[in-house]
């Protein structure tokens, strides 16, 4: 394992400290317990948005703290959901009195820790709603599993719900639009290589030189199928097939196409995937109205990518286009 780190035990704290220094114009870092808020939090009268989860997915979530997106983010240890003692003060810091929406990726750990934190924050007088993100179509038979994982769709939920909060929607409305995004987005990922969790020191799984994992999550978990290496167009087809089967869009539907890198894949390759994905969606009669391509929710240095397709309605498009000013996503200001 070779990493630009000092000590596996201090990776998250040092990294978030550096992040806070580099983006002092956007954010404030509370070191103990560790959470990140907008520089001026809470925003008077606005519903607060808080997300969090294991670290190792940067820029998610702290990179999305700022105008038009999150009010606070709670980074856990690498791939380990944060604990209520950090989520609670982050929730309180994000609350201006209008209540707080927790955006939670559907993993047992995240769900349980945010659930506990929400209960305790409610006890302290904060109204909390939870939007559970579960967009990963790699998880089949979700009746017999912990349910679909929350993956790249989370970024879209945070952006669109964030814009709704910014324009002044109330607590239930912000949660409702967050849920609507989640209901209309599907994602699927592929890994060409595993990643190495700092404290583990060895890769999360082994892939032969001619194998890839289809249906991986964002934690270096093994995927559902291991198949021989294919070319980019073939892999893109494999990722889009279950997405479209599950989303079942109608011809003429407008969509947002999000090609996300897992951290170790060059941008140039993401655009090769994007190129074919657009062609497949257009061949299916869809209109690719908006796009996002880049490393937005990663799994450390894993090589691979995910594709997400979000069925847009006019309100979602308007909220997507609304100004956003965070360290990792910025336009309109």
């Amino acid at each position: 394992m070779k990493k630009l780190i000092n000590d596996p035990k201090t990776v998250v704290n040092e990294s978030v400290e550096g992040f806070g220094r580099a983006h002092a114009g956007h954010v404030k870092v509370n070191p103990e317990p560790l959470y990140v808020t907008r520089k001026e939090a809470p925003s008077e009268g606005k519903v607060g948005l808080v997300s969090g989860g294991g670290s190792g997915h940067e820029p998610l979530h702290a990179g999305f703290v700022g105008f038009g997106m999150l009010d606070a983010a709670v980074p856990g240890a690498v791939f380990t959901s944060p604990t209520p003692d950090a989520i609670i003060p982050a929730t309180i810091a994000a609350n201006s009195g209008a209540g707080v929406v927790h955006i939670v990726k559907n993993y047992t750990g995240d769900v349980l820790n945010f659930e506990t934190a929400a209960e305790m924050a409610e006890a302290e007088g904060v109204n909390v709603r939870t939007v559970l993100v579960n967009d990963d179509v790699a998880v089949e038979d979700s009746l017999y599993t912990a349910g679909r994982r929350g993956v790249a769709g989370t970024v879209l939920v945070e952006k669109i719900a964030g814009a709704a909060a910014e324009r002044g929607d109330d607590l239930d409305a912000v949660a409702a639009i967050g849920n609507r995004v989640n209901e209309n987005v599907r994602s699927m990922g592929v890994a060409l290589s595993a990643c190495t969790v700092p404290h583990a020191g060895v890769p999360s799984f082994e892939l032969a030189e001619d194998e890839i994992e289809i249906g991986i999550g964002i934690h270096g978990e093994p995927g559902r199928h291991r198949i021989p290496m294919e070319n980019a167009d073939g892999i893109t087809d494999r990722l889009l097939e279950p997405i479209l089967a599950d989303l079942a869009p109608a011809a003429g539907d407008k969509v947002l196409l999000f090609v996300n890198g897992m951290g170790g894949t060059p941008q140039s390759e993401l655009y090769i995937v994007y190129r074919h994905a657009v062609a497949v969606l257009e061949a299916a009669g869809l209109v690719v109205e908006r796009s996002l391509v880049g490393n937005y929710i990663t799994a450390l240095e894993m090589q691979g990518a995910s594709i997400s397709v979000l069925r847009l309605d006019d309100e979602m498009t308007e909220l997507w286009d609304a100004p956003v000013n965070t360290p990792a996503l910025r336009w309109g200001m």
Partner: protein
């Protein structure tokens, strides 16, 4: 045998748990790497190391206080799925024993049952779902049987630990229906559930801490 377990035992148990988790840190990471995300040993070690630090600072007054100290520390230090689950287990156990100074076999069984029920309440897992419940439920059943046949608390704990170890082993051939391993479907077969193993380690540490007393 009218022998009971006191606060010193509870503290010995927590310290012994910290030691055995530290020893098995890498093994638990490896188990979790195979069918999860490779952090279970790290998470548990972080939590129990924090418990040791807490215990150096404050002396719990009762076994129940020791359990609650553990609960709060695990809840705030472990994270992931295991943190809230073990935190709830210790919290419910602490509530079950109240402020009793000493625990007899019946109280011990009540504590173990409450702990298990707490995990089920939070995690909704059943036996056979390939989770720590596959260790806890046989452990609770064995403890209850041992207590019913008049065993002392040390023997009750030993029975629970043995049943938990067998329960952990029993997860090998299973497909998981809860937790991260559930995403793997048949690919989880042949791997032991890390949380079931850590549960068995904790119960065995409790039994050994009781033996010293006996």
């Amino acid at each position: 045998m009218g022998q009971t377990l006191d606060t010193a035992w509870a503290v010995r148990w927590l310290r012994a748990s910290a030691a055995v988790i530290a020893e098995n840190r890498v093994a638990l990471i490896e188990l979790d790497r195979a069918i999860g995300d490779g952090d279970h040993g790290e998470n548990m070690d972080r939590g129990f190391t924090a418990i040791l630090e807490k215990l150096d600072g404050e002396q719990p007054a009762t076994p129940g206080a020791a359990f609650k100290l553990a609960a709060m520390t695990l809840m705030s230090k472990v994270g992931g799925a295991a943190g809230p689950l073990y935190g709830t287990a210790f919290l419910r156990a602490g509530t079950a024993v109240g402020d009793a100074a000493e625990l007899d076999s019946a109280t011990l069984v009540a504590a173990l049952t409450a702990a298990r029920d707490g995990v089920v309440a939070r995690g909704k897992a059943e036996v056979g779902d390939k989770t720590m419940i596959d260790a806890w439920t046989p452990a609770v059943d064995a403890a209850a049987a041992a207590a019913a046949s008049g065993e002392d608390p040390a023997a009750v704990l030993a029975a629970a630990a043995s049943a938990a170890e067998a329960g952990a082993e029993s997860t090998d051939p299973l497909i998981a229906h809860k937790g991260r391993a559930s995403y793997l479907a048949e690919r989880a077969i042949g791997h032991r559930d890390p949380g079931a193993v850590s549960s068995a380690l904790l119960l065995r540490a409790g039994a050994q801490a009781a033996e010293v007393a006996a």
